[in-house]
Amino acid sequence: MNGQTFHSVTLDPAKCTGCTTCIRYCPTEAIRVRKGRAIIMDERCIDCGECIRACPHNAKKAVSDPLAAMERFNIRVAIPAPTLYGQFDEKFTIDRILSALKGLGFDQVLEVAWAAELVSNAGALSVDQRQCKGPMISSACPAVVKLIQVRFPSLIENLMPIQSPMEVAARLIKERFYPGRADVGVFFISPCAGKVTVSRYPQGVKTSAVDGVIGIKDIYVPLRNTLPGTVELPLAHASGRGIAWAHIDGESDAVGNPAGISVSGIADVISVLEALENGKMANVAFIEALACPAGCVGGPLTVENPYIARARLRARERRVVSRGHRQPPVAADDLELGWEEPVQAREALRLHPDMLKAMIMMEEMEVIHASLPGLDCGSCGAPTCKAFAEDVARGHVVITDCIFKLRENVRKLAEQLIDMERIQPPGLDKD
């Protein structure tokens, strides 16, 4: 499964005013406004969260699990993203944060940052041994993977075929800590909307070992209230190398290839992928690409400002060095980290399965586009005049949904009425 239609970003219809702000921010033109409400086209949504950030009415949200979801399981395990550490003041150590998390009802806690170190090692190897032409692109950001599936299918072969740190942490819990048990629930504490989707429709693995995804913002208040009175347990194992995955440059530093570059923010990611597809970047070996500004710290399910969070994480990375060495929480040297199945292209932008029919539709689209005002005003509910032309060619809307075309038609009609009014019956015509 490659998550063909499911996505975690949804609309709260009660809050949506149909204002058309979100449609301009969507990198795959997946949103249209219909009948005063924003509609997300399932097959195009990549879960990047841009619309969540852009919506002035907070009508866009990501579906994630409530804290109470853990009650379905006898054994409850939390696997927090390193981004969680950047949400709190540095006076609370990582040990303290993890202990407080445990205090909320989890039997065990394993850092995704620690799993990220394993992924970094496997990633470094896979960059060195890569078979694809050009650089290897990190597959850790689910929105970037989906962006490539939808908009850059020729770059699928460049995706690093290694499981994400979240998936690796969850598998360690299920396979190494509690082998053979079916009553273990693993919950990812997430800054990311896309991770909700990949926990149900994973990328590169057949089934995800993650049972639920709890947004950082949903756990923030109870966790913050628990922190001051929590007794610290030595639960932290990750080094700065793994913790840094929460922000831009973290993964590329951890992978350690000198010919690596890192890019964050969906618009910049797109420009890098465009350049790569054009045959540029011949000397780049690795691309860390993260959809959110400044990396996962900019995720839509976070609370703290991404740049504050990043500064805090950097300070923590330096501090962890002085903590001294701790034994790894579990032996993981022999763990298989590779993908189990390839990721497929999603033909969400294709006009018609029959190429000749698609060509006819595209010709129609070009003609319609040329007749439109080109203001990209959004009144029709599509992000651009071009997208509107495409919607007309696909038969989803009619040309008069463009208010300028409608006005043109009304004017023609009015002119015809006036012309008709001038015509006198022959008996009355005195000229």
């Binding site: 540029k280 190429m355 698609a358 060509m359 010709e363 495409e390």
Partner: protein
């Protein structure tokens, strides 16, 4: 079907737009990723050449069931020695373009590598016309 693009001259930051638009169109038609990439690379290199050497020009693409034909026309200085220009590493790009990582002398060789047929007609002082043909997989039609 036909697509027309204007390639504005002397602004390298805008170069690549036509190639990007063509790529989007090919994706909408459901052309396979490998062909899209080949087309993108060939078109991009041609576009860059046009901006660096010829103050821009125009590009016309014709997409049919057998393949993609791209014709790029400029009224630039022309190429005095075509054989020399086709050699890898040969470049007459100005310093400003080199600083941006262009002008490695790979433009024409890259176009040749990615196109199924590449024709260049150039007259010094008049201009250059580049025709690129990309055959679609499964198509039996040979390049003209």
């Amino acid at each position: 079907m036909k697509l027309h693009f204007d390639v504005p001259g002397d602004d390298l930051s805008l170069a690549g737009k036509a190639s990007s638009e063509l790529k989007k169109a090919l994706g909408r038609l459901g052309i396979d990723p490998v062909t899209i990439k080949r087309t993108a690379v060939a078109m991009y290199e041609a576009e860059i050449n046009m901006v660096i050497h010829a103050h821009g020009g125009s590009a016309d693409a014709e997409i049919g069931p057998a393949g993609i034909d791209i014709r790029l026309q400029d009224s630039g200085p022309g190429i005095p020695d075509l054989d020399m220009a086709m050699q890898e590493g040969y470049s007459t790009a100005p310093e400003a373009a080199r600083e941006l990582g262009f002008g490695a002398g790979m433009g024409l060789p890259n176009m040749k590598r990615n196109a199924d047929d590449l024709r260049i007609e150039s007259t010094v002082g008049v201009g250059t016309t580049v025709t690129i043909r990309i055959t679609l997989p499964g198509s039996t039609t040979k390049a003209p």
